[in-house]
């Protein structure tokens, strides 16, 4: 058995069953993980479903902030799912298989255009990551890999239906095998594809508004010593983007991450950011992250900004205490203690 027939036969079976089992396992892990967290128990399920549903409607604030980019992302993901499922060539294979299933296919011309769109957008996303200086710093190797793996089946598929590759020695014979293999690679990657909220080191002020907005308790912050630590539980994320739409500094970004090591929930929480907390200069209580205080200091002028709210009250009341017309120490108390001695 050569590689081609192996890829189209047994390997396809193995990969598809791995895909189905993997996705089912992830759903199970999601529910078990989410039932363990105690956060927001009273309103949670309604809130989770509502936030999840809202993320599918392209009317949230990410769309208004970056309308062009958001529209391209929506188009890219729609094409990504629609083309492989409703392509006439694929449906033909389903019909010939032992299942004998078939359904209405997309017109071939439309499928061609959608494939080209996917390739064009993948190239755009790739170039955008390479050109943009701050974007490149925030890009890991798996980001590039993901775009390439996603684009590869579409590229090979387009050549398979349109190109005349006969003159090229190796590619001409093996295009079909490459197409099937890359499609299988994409299925495997989909099982290990996770989301991750990235909090920008420069922009994030550590206010933890994202924690309050997160419906599933994926993003959590805990104040530990002098630091506020943000942790992320991979299995609870439903990719609703609530943290991105909430963040006042536009510091949160929801990213794909290929993480085979995260499939089994071995590491339940991962630290994604830590911010230093400001200590009150009067009582020493830690009250607000340092970057947030700095930002407030730029917006307003206030001598008391160094103090925690409780000490501010105290400082302010102390001013009025000096204005009080009566003596600062009561004599009655002193006399009484004097008599008792």
């Amino acid at each position: 058995m050569d590689l081609g027939s192996f890829a189209e036969g047994p390997l396809l079976w193995i990969v598809s069953s791995l895909f189905v089992i993997g996705i089912l396992a992830r759903v199970a892990f999601f529910f078990s993980s989410i039932l363990k967290t105690n956060k927001n128990k009273h309103f949670r399920w309604r809130h989770i479903v509502a936030t999840f549903g809202r993320s599918f409607v392209p009317l949230h604030s990410v769309v208004t902030k970056k309308p062009m980019y958001a529209a391209l992302c929506y188009i890219f993901h729609i094409c990504l799912i629609v083309v492989p499922v409703w392509l006439s060539g694929h449906i033909l294979l389903w019909e010939e298989s032992r299942f004998g299933w078939n359904w209405a296919a997309l017109p071939d011309a439309l499928a061609d255009w959608m494939t080209l769109l996917v390739l064009f957008l993948a190239a755009y996303f790739l170039i955008r990551r390479i050109i943009g200086a701050d974007l490149r710093l925030n890009t890991s190797r798996s980001d590039y890999l993901l775009i390439i793996i996603t684009a590869l089946p579409f590229m090979t598929g387009y050549f398979l239906t349109h190109g005349n590759l006969e003159p090229i020695p190796f590619l001409g014979d093996n295009m079909r095998t490459i197409h099937v293999l890359s499609g299988e690679a994409m299925l495997i990657v989909a099982v290990f594809l996770f989301y991750r909220t990235q909090l920008s080191r420069e922009k994030c002020t550590g206010c933890a508004a994202c924690e309050l907005s997160c419906p599933t308790g994926t993003l959590e912050s805990t104040d530990k010593g002098k630091l506020r630590i943000f942790t992320y539980s991979y299995y609870q994320c439903i990719c609703c983007g609530a943290c991105v739409t909430t963040c006042p500094e536009e510091a949160a970004e929801l990213r794909h991450e290929i993480g085979p090591g995260r499939f089994f929930p071995i590491v339940p929480k991962q630290e994604i950011r830590s911010v230093e907390l400001k200590a009150c200069e009067r009582c020493g209580a830690l009250f607000t992250p340092v970057p947030q205080i700095e930002k407030i200091g730029q917006l307003i002028t206030d001598d008391f900004i160094r103090f925690c709210p409780r000490c501010k009250q105290h400082k302010y009341a102390e001013g009025f205490r000096h204005l009080a017309p009566w003596p600062k120490k009561l004599t009655i108390g002193r006399n009484m203690s004097g008599e008792s001695q």
Binding site: T205, C207, I296, P309, H314, Y316, A317, P325
Partner: protein, 161 residues
């Protein structure tokens, strides 16, 4: 006529009933740490000052709010939080010069005096009327301004001005 809350430290007896009724009115539980008014005390001097939101005209909380959730309600002469817009970043809590805003750890939202929509409960329960709900007339504003002028001089002295 717009009205305002006027605090008179000479009348306050430090009974802290205002804290209790405020928390009962706003949270349904008698828990002064979740109240919008706090009495700062110097017990041995007999000096008590109820601290609450001053409903500033140019409010610092309003200018630091990233989502413009804090706005001024001219009708009732108060500063209000719109909880539909509030994201809970607590910038206002850190910005308020009077420490008058708080964060309710149980309901996970910022809290501030809302003047009980024009019928303040703390005033009703304050027998001495140390907190009073008065017409925002020129004379009342004058009293407030005098106090703050004296206060500003003191502060300038304290900071070596």
């Amino acid at each position: 006529m717009a009205k305002m809350l006027l605090v008179d430290y000479e009348k306050c007896t430090g009974c802290r009933l205002c804290e209790l009724v405020c928390s009962v009115k706003h949270t349904g539980a008698s828990n002064p740490s979740r109240a919008n008014v706090h009495v700062v005390k110097w017990e041995d001097e007999g000096f008590y000052l109820p601290m609450l939101c001053q409903h500033c005209v140019d409010a610092p909380c309003m200018s630091v709010c990233p989502t413009k959730a804090i706005s001024r309600d001219e009708e009732l002469n108060r500063v209000m939080v719109d909880y539909d817009l509030c994201i809970g970043c607590k910038a206002c809590v850190a910005a308020c010069p009077f420490g008058a805003m708080g964060f309710d750890e149980i309901e996970k939202k910022v809290i501030k005096c809302d003047m009980c929509d024009g019928d303040p409960l703390c005033v009703k329960f304050c027998d001495m009327k140390a907190i009073d709900y008065v017409d925002a007339t020129t004379s009342n504003f004058e009293r407030m301004r005098d106090a703050s002028r004296n206060f500003a001089e003191l502060m300038a002295k304290a900071h070596g001005g």
